[in-house]
Amino acid sequence: MSIHEEKKDILGQSYIYMNYQVDKKGFYGNFGGAYIPEMLVPNVEELRNRYLSIIQEESFQTEMDQLLRDYVGRPTPLYLAKRLSEKYNTTIYLKREDLCHTGAHKVNNTIGQILLARRLGKTRIIAETGAGQHGVATATVCALMGMECIVYMGAVDMERQKPNVERMKMLGATVRPANSGSKTLKDATNEAIRDWINNPVDTHYIIGSVVGPHPYPDLVARFQSIISEEMREQLIDKTGSPNPNYVIACVGGGSNAAGAFYHYLNEKSVNLIAVEAAGQGVYSGHSAATTFLGKPGVIHGSKTLLMQTEDGQITEPYSISAGLDYPGIGPMHANLFETGRAKFYSVTDGEAFNAAMLLSRMEGIIPALESAHAIAVLENIPVKKDDVVVINLSGRGDKDLMTYITRKDEFTK
């Protein structure tokens, strides 16, 4: 099925409808699919065959809604950032995912997947984590449900993100170091996939982003779509229209962006802005700006844009923000990039760092370094006075405090 679909409008005129959602074969345009070894096929097929019917069950939705409300703290506020708006001479709202329980949007997905795992009869949960946010969100829901939890984390990241390692342990999870390759997120993901190969019957793998084989990108996007669902209602209340002029989100794998864009994908008047990490500069050799540096290829079971050598070896990304430090992007985003539906920008470590300082001083909100990339892009997009801009503030900055303290002199002008 092509992403260009011919449909008839109510007057019977045919028009071209662009479908940005996943198709029946698990593709977003040229990207997606399930490039997995046979050992994983039964598990992934089971998930593919059952996820839609399970998440549409009334009992599932009731349980999910209740947990999101009473445990996660949803709906998260849509906050009019007055001083920031004045500075950029426009109207800026912040979608406060940083106020979710555990400190980031990641928990929206782990709540959904743990409920799904239980209905699939799984008793053991595995996950990968980079900065530790998804690991903490997974350990949290496993504690909540009394399920065994194993989190794979690159040995290098375990060293960089010690407080999150301790949080996971306190929540009862086992944190296993990934010692292969570069010992970061990409390798932690490999190790989690290998664990699943070795434990195919009792285990569910909670992927933390809109990556991996179909149906994961769609599954995670659906669980994160609560972000834009709430945005629409909140905007009607505040501005009279569900549609802003811009929705801005940072993209590593892309789960918070997928959630923030989800209900606006076919709303052409809404500009979707995805912000990647340029690291020390897009062409510095130390960057994670995948759409600028990547080519189509296969990583972690899906075809997408990824950073790689001419020989097809996946290269090491770099960003000050561990959550954006991933050499690929979700296939949905690769398609949004290729079709031009979303505009991709990149922001350097220094720009993100300074945006974090700015938001802290102007609004009293210390953002995660990841989310600071979305703030920083305000310098680069042509917002007008009458525009309404929504920035998805995906996480809070507590986890980044050491970086904010130790690298201040390096980045402040």
């Binding site: 070894p37 046979e38 050992m39 096929v41 996939i193 290998r194 190969i197 189509p296 296969v298």
Partner: protein, 263 residues
């Protein structure tokens, strides 16, 4: 329907020899960059019935630590798929056993699948194993190309593969079916063949069109012999790589390894 179309050294071997076939996997460019041909020749001389040459990849999802490390070392040595193709130039002057290439789909995609098929066919390579290439996509995009080039495509089945899917995989495969012994990555020492009897019987009863080779966690004479009871032969990878990593006299050690397994 497909396997009959292809006629190469692999199909010829299975037509003449039905039992006890030994297939050895090794990583190209390991332990040293230029060892590829030395190892290939020593395996043939030692009595291996066929070989799989691994294309090193930065992120080998289906592999355990031993093959991962050999991949990393080979990449560090400077191996690329282009370089492997160069190393195999003229191999058919001295190598008469079937040769397969095994790797991950991204390597083939970046090289260009059509160019790869054409280059492999020219070298006299007999087939490929790409564990993360979906069977559907192979049938849709590549099967005609492979068959026209006389190149076999080997797919995997596992203990969790349904009977229906096994049939489907058998139809798409040409050469042999790679029977993964246990739910496992390669070289997982915590897993062995004990308790797999029922699964192997099921494979045996399935009466595939293709021959079968059992691989994953086959490591020595005993496990080879056991696997051979249920299939046309067995595949050894990690145990061989481990031996290579410790070897100071490759040719001698390889021959000894093969004769020890086959006894």
């Amino acid at each position: 329907m497909t396997s009959t179309k292809i006629n190469n050294k692999l199909t010829q071997l299975f037509a003449t020899k039905k039992k006890g076939l030994l297939n050895i996997y090794f990583t190209a460019g390991y332990p040293q960059l230029e060892d590829t041909r030395t190892i290939l020749k020593a395996l043939q001389d030692g009595g291996a019935d066929m070989v799989e040459i691994g294309i090193p990849f930065s992120d080998p999802l289906a592999d355990g630590p031993i093959i991962q490390e050999s991949n990393d070392a080979a990449l560090h040595n400077g191996i690329t798929l282009k370089k492997i193709i160069q190393q195999l130039q003229g191999m058919r002057d001295e190598i008469h056993i079937p040769v397969l290439l095994m790797g991950y789909i991204n390597s083939a995609l970046q090289y260009g699948v059509e160019k790869l098929v054409s280059d492999l066919s020219e070298l006299g390579v007999d087939g490929m194993i790409l564990p993360d290439l979906p069977v559907d996509e192979y049938k849709e995009k590549y099967q005609d190309l492979f068959e026209a080039s006389n190149l076999s495509m080997v797919f995997l089945v596992t203990p969790q593969t349904s009977a229906e899917r096994m049939k489907y995989i058998d139809q798409a495969s040409s050469g042999f079916i790679y029977v993964v012994s246990t739910a496992s990555t390669t070289g997982n020492e915590a897993k062995d063949l004990a308790g797999q009897k029922e699964y192997f019987e099921r494979i045996h009863q399935a009466k595939f069109n293709n021959p079968t080779m059992i691989g994953f966690n086959i490591k020595d004479h005993a496990s080879y012999t056991e696997a051979c009871q249920y299939a046309n032969g067995a595949i050894i990878g990690s145990a061989f790589i481990k031996m290579l990593g410790n070897s100071h006299l490759l040719e001698k050690d390889i021959k000894e390894f093969v004769s020890f397994v086959k006894q």
